[in-house]
Amino acid sequence: MRPNKLMSALGAGLVFGFGLAISGMVNPSTVLGFLDVFGGAWNPRLAGVMGGAVPVAALIFYYARSIKPAKDLPSPPITCIDRKLVVGSILFGIGWGLAGVCPGPTLIAIFFDWHFLPFLAALLVGMMAGTQLRNQI
């Protein structure tokens, strides 16, 4: 493993964590405020995060493809909209909606509030189960 790749991975993680913290997405109640469209107090912050992140990522991806050989970059997306994708996305959405918590913010919040521990523990168990299931269906 080349050390510069380790440094860039850590650096990217730092920037991502900094961004998540600024964005307000570490706070489950802010996330739920977005998902709660019928509550009368809709909070559009999550849409702001996506609106900031997606175009910037798209521009850098495009730039990277123009200057680097394809073998050094992730392979282009494959299209395979199957049962696993559909069922998995729906299950993820239900879990996300139950608590307003998803994996990235959890890895931050756990250092500030130990009440996230049941979520993190169950997340790892669910991932093991999901990996098993994925190989079977």
Binding site: A21, G24, L91, V101, L107
Partner: protein, 139 residues
């Protein structure tokens, strides 16, 4: 809507940081910044890429701590009970493995590269999350 402009602005700025990070990892490491995938890869068996992924994940809390050290406000209000959190965590774990991504991998990176899979996945998980919250209001 009860969001003030400053909060909204901070969210867009936070998103820009997330976009820059995803772009950096794509360009320098040839990797998609998919957090659920990286977390699941920390569960053994490990391979040559594990350290790289672990360092990215370690950067997440460190980056947030840096933000707090600079005087940033990081409110965290968790309303779900421990039992709800257990169910939620399990569903998020199994769902992200079946669909191969979460809010970062599908929602940000996947949409940014116009992956049909990710566009479908993101639409479905946002819709099912909205319905879950709506149903919770009725119960």
């Amino acid at each position: 809507m009860i969001v003030n402009l400053m909060d909204w602005f901070l969210s867009v700025i936070g998103g820009v940081f997330i976009g820059i990070s995803s772009g950096l990892l794509f360009m320098a490491n040839g990797r998609i910044a998919g957090i659920s995938g990286m977390v699941s890869s920390l569960i053994v068996p490990w391979n040559a890429d594990t350290l790289e992924k672990a360092l990215f994940l370690l950067g997440l809390p460190l980056g947030a701590m840096f933000y707090v050290l600079l005087g940033g406000d990081l409110p965290i209000t968790l309303m779900a009970s421990p039992v709800t959190l257990l169910v939620a965590g399990f569903l998020v774990g199994i769902g992200t493995r079946l669909s191969n991504g979460c809010t970062s991998g599908h929602g940000v990176c996947g949409i940014a590269r116009l992956s049909p899979n990710s566009i479908v996945a993101t639409g479905l998980f946002i819709l099912s999350a909205i319905l879950t919250v709506a149903l919770g209001r009725l119960l």
